[in-house]
């Protein structure tokens, strides 16, 4: 048992904001939720908090612990106390405080509902009557882990992009969107990417704070990169974001190192680049003229790499899990099964991995 000092935010509901200080005798491995419930039961029953399952499956009890977004039920007091010498518990970020540790989750749920979080059937591939849609373990491996998301909003709370730009859908909603985009049962692959491309896909900063905040290893930022990649493959250069990332790759092929002048032109266009002129002039005054690098040694090797690694077929290999995927956690697909569908230019069906059984024979 150790003496654990805890500061808990109190406020909202018309009361002034303050921090109440408590001291508890606890085992070091005690979850913060248990500590809060002990405060409620033994010291101050007026402390408002949201909680239910106490086992990281209902997603109710996310708070900020010393500034970090955490699920109270699986965050132990000891390590955090050892690190910072204090335990400061605050309500989540990016959502208005209702009272004490309880926030109004409307901003979070509103964004979730904006992505149309349900299967949109493909009229060309109706669900088989009376039986399941056949999907190979390799296909399901791409999104097998997506139900791990418990909608706790820890990622939402931690996200600095949301904090600075309310247009952003946020990590959870986009990770959830990924789940539908890669699901072969969903018929709105192109439409979903089209929509999100126009919304806020490119506002993700890739800061990966959501990856660290997530108690279930959903890795939202990595799923967002997957979405950007799929949008780039499917739709191409359209938004400043896609222009920038596709243009960047083309830029590097040219000389091996970044041509900053060309980048501005590619991403911002002529008008945008002209808008940057005053900045460029200021920079030049500081000796920072932007010249073009000479090409790197072995620049021609890049052409070989670009040729070999281009093409759409990676669409199937990119998403999470499996030997064919980035994370390497799910059952491993045999190479034959993971082989890509033929890459044709525009049709959704070809661009997207389809269930192995979802053929004309299966649906006469």
């Amino acid at each position: 048992m150790v003496r654990v000092p805890i500061e808990v935010f109190r406020g909202g509901a018309g009361t002034p904001n303050r921090f109440d200080k408590f001291e508890l005798e606890l085992e070091e491995h005690t979850p913060i939720l248990t500590a809060l419930l002990k405060i409620r039961d033994e010291i101050d029953p007026t402390l408002a908090a949201r909680y239910s399952c106490r086992q990281a499956i209902c997603g109710s009890c996310a708070v900020r612990v010393n500034g970090k977004s955490r699920l109270a039920c699986v965050t132990q007091v000891g390590p955090e106390l050892a690190k910072r010498g204090k335990l400061r518990i605050e309500p989540m970020g990016n959502q208005p405080v209702l009272r004490d540790l309880v926030v109004d989750q409307k901003p979070f749920w509103d964004r979730y509902h904006r992505i149309e979080p349900y299967l949109i059937p493909d009229p060309a591939h109706p669900m088989p009557v009376g039986k399941e849609n056949p999907m190979s373990p390799e296909q399901v491996a791409q999104f097998q882990e997506t139900p791990r998301c418990i909608a706790c909003a820890s990622c939402f709370s931690a996200c600095p992009a949301l904090d600075s730009d309310p247009d952003f859908l946020g990590p959870m909603a986009l990770a959830k969107l990924f789940r539908f985009v890669v699901d072969p049962r969903d018929g709105a692959f192109h439409q979903r990417l089209e929509t999100v491309q126009n919304q806020s896909l490119w506002l993700c900063l890739r800061c990966n704070l959501c990856v660290e905040a997530c108690p279930k290893d959903v890795r939202p930022a990595e799923r967002i990169v997957d979405l950007k990649w799929m949008a780039n493959q499917e739709i191409g250069k359209r938004e400043p974001g896609s222009k920038h990332s596709i243009g960047f790759a083309e830029n590097i092929q040219e000389g091996g190192l970044l041509n900053e002048r060309r980048l501005a032109m590619d991403s911002l266009g002529l008008i945008g680049t002209l808008g940057q002129l005053p900045k460029a002039i200021t920079m030049m005054r500081h000796g920072r003229s932007i010249k073009k690098h000479p090409p790197i040694q072995g620049r021609e090797q890049l052409d070989v790499i670009y040729n070999a690694m281009s093409g759409r077929e990676d669409l199937q290999h990119r998403p999470m899990s499996g030997e064919g995927g980035v994370r390497g956690k799910a059952p491993t697909p045999p190479p034959a099964a993971a082989s890509p569908p033929p890459a044709t230019a525009t049709t959704t069906a070809a661009a997207k991995p389809r269930p192995s059984g979802e053929t004309k024979e299966a649906h006469p």
Binding site: Y118, E132, P137, A151, A330
Partner: protein, 558 residues
């Protein structure tokens, strides 16, 4: 005053499924839930959902296994519906978008589970409840016509002359109290295990709807049947899914013996839950447990790959709550309260004795689980009977007269609430709840004696006396957990009283109800349900015959 054809109380799997069915039948539907629907306790179900989709398997086998598992207390007509609808139900959930594990041929993968003759448990790793809840909520999200009232606590179910009128509820966010007039009401508020300290249930599992239905005059059934899950992490009482044994996990006692060979020589670790729980409790009681009073669940031999992919959440539970890595270490386990077979008594149409009042899921008792529920049948029940409840409530509501819920009903419920809330002093709900939990743990456990049960009866009565003086220190109208704690404690006390009364009456041992003074099953006298109804003098007990269609009671062997 809100007004709907059908009002569903509770938004877990049963409630959401009922709402979906009712709205698609063309009725106006409201859903009241004290949690956001995705935070429901359904999410905590781990192992899977049964459906006899395997090539050798059949609904008939599933029916027999369920009836046998129930120790013949289940109503067989209800079990037939459950098992016959299982396949279509699971496939429907797949079509809704639920992400299940797949077999190499692309079909739904199946795992072994306790008391089942074949591998018939469809699963999504070890988070099947969560995957189903998401799949169903996604489908529900299409229905813009459904009005979900999130974070509202029901405080009264109003019935007059045996006909339901509606519900009065408290908005947790604002403190507002509002009437919800409805022609039909579906109770789907889930479990009430929080009367035990050693429970796998969430903090929200306080039986709100079951208790309110009881207060409104509904019969409760099979309340003495309390399931203890064999493998929980002592202390935190986090559940370790039966799927862990289904995937090949074995149990050992302190002497390193695989003791299930003595209790269930054929099914071993996959005997029914009552059998395995008693085996573990007996080993420990007779001195063959580990020094910490546990037995060990070993998964190590399954290999890292299988454990970390199919039992991923279990790995995290063990790490977070017990500091154990199940890939290299055994998991200390002991039985904990897990499931209430009892609940609001319904017939196989999900109807209660109150016209217009329906119930489904763990809040209800059809009874498909009888004296002992088989693993992976509860998720199935929520969906099959949730749908039936929604369909029948919708049909009824289509021709039922307008509800007669009045402002006077709302005022009365408000007044009763304020009696508690406005009290200037008294005892904290936390203290009374802790004492209730102690009473239930010590006296109404796996093994029951008349002395302990009578003690429990006396103590619960005392606690109800203390509850009359319960004090809510928090006077805020915003997210007042102190107030809802007090209300929930009232629900738990009523239901605990029913459990104890029924357990005293049943002088036999059947399924989860084991009386040391009556160690044998007694079909001659006790092949019947106990019903409980509220009366001014306390729980009034009566009987209901068990419906037997195909399977006459036999002795159980696993």
């Amino acid at each position: 005053m809100q007004k709907h054809d059908v009002l569903v109380v509770g938004a877990g799997l049963a409630g959401q499924r009922a709402a979906l069915e009712a709205v698609r039948a063309g009725r106006s539907v409201g859903v009241l839930s004290k949690l956001h629907p995705l935070r429901s306790h359904s999410a905590a179900a781990q192992g899977g959902i049964n459906a006899s989709l395997g090539p050798q398997d059949s609904p008939k086998d599933h029916i027999f296994d369920t009836v046998k598992g129930s120790d013949y207390l289940a109503d067989q007509d209800a079990v037939e519906i459950l098992c016959n609808d299982a396949g279509p139900t699971v496939i429907e959930m797949e079509h809704f978008g639920t992400i299940f594990n797949r077999a190499p041929d692309g079909s739904l993968d199946r795992r072994a589970f306790g008391g089942a003759s074949y591998n018939r448990t469809i699963f999504s790793a070890d988070r099947t409840g969560l995957a189903l809840l998401q799949g169903l909520y996604e489908e529900l999200s299409r229905e813009k016509r459904i009005h979900v009232f999130e974070e509202w606590t029901a405080i009264d179910i109003v019935a007059r002359q045996g006909v339901v009128q509606g519900v009065v509820a408290l908005d947790r966010k604002s403190g507002a109290i509002e009437g919800f007039s409805a022609r039909a009401v579906v109770v789907a508020t889930g479990p009430f295990g929080r009367m035990y300290p050693n429970t796998t249930n969430s903090h929200a599992s306080t039986g709100d709807g079951t208790a309110l239905a009881y207060r409104a005059g509904a019969f409760l059934k099979d309340m003495e049947m309390v399931q203890f899950h064999p493998t929980c992490l002592p202390g935190s009482w986090i559940l370790i899914t039966e799927g862990a044994r289904g995937e090949g996990g074995i149990l050992k006692n302190g002497k390193g013996e695989r003791f299930m060979t003595r209790y269930a020589p054929n099914k071993l670790e996959l005997a029914s839950r009552d059998v395995v729980s008693r085996a573990i409790a007996t080993e420990v009681k007779e001195g063959r447990g580990f020094p910490d009073g546990t037995c060990h669940l070993e998964l190590m031999h399954l290999g890292k790959e299988k454990i970390t992919t199919k039992l991923q959440e279990i790995v995290e539970f063990c790490r977070n709550f017990a500091g154990i890595d199940p890939v290299v270490e055994a998991i200390p386990v002991y039985p904990g309260q897990h499931y209430m077979m009892g609940g609001v008594s319904t017939n196989p149409r999900a109807e209660t004795n109150i016209t217009g009042l329906y119930a489904a899921g763990e809040a209800a008792c059809v009874s498909v689980h009888g004296a002992n529920r088989l693993g992976a049948n509860s998720l199935l029940e929520t969906l099959v009977y949730g749908k039936i409840a929604g369909a029948n409530a919708a049909t009824y509501a289509a021709k039922a007269p307008e509800s007669g819920l009045t402002q006077a009903d709302v005022d009365l419920a408000t007044k009763k609430l304020h009696v508690i809330w406005d009290r200037k002093q008294g005892e904290s709900p936390a203290k009374i709840r802790q004492d209730l939990q102690k009473v239930m743990k010590e006296n109404v456990g796996i093994y029951r004696t008349p002395e302990e049960l009578l003690t429990a009866q006396k103590k619960v009565a005392e606690l109800k006396g203390r509850y009359a003086n319960v004090y809510v220190q928090d006077k805020s109208t915003t997210y007042n957990v102190n107030l809802t704690d007090a209300l929930e404690l009232g629900y738990l006390l009523d239901l605990a009283e029913c459990i104890v009364a029924a357990a005293i009456l049943r002088t036999e041992s059947r399924g989860a109800h084991v009386r040391l003074d009556f160690p044998k099953r007694d079909d001659a006298n006790w092949l019947k349900h106990i019903l409980v109804q509220a009366s001014p003098a306390g729980p009034k007990l009566s009987f209901l015959p068990v419906t037997v269609t195909s399977y006459q009671p036999m002795e159980r062997h696993y």
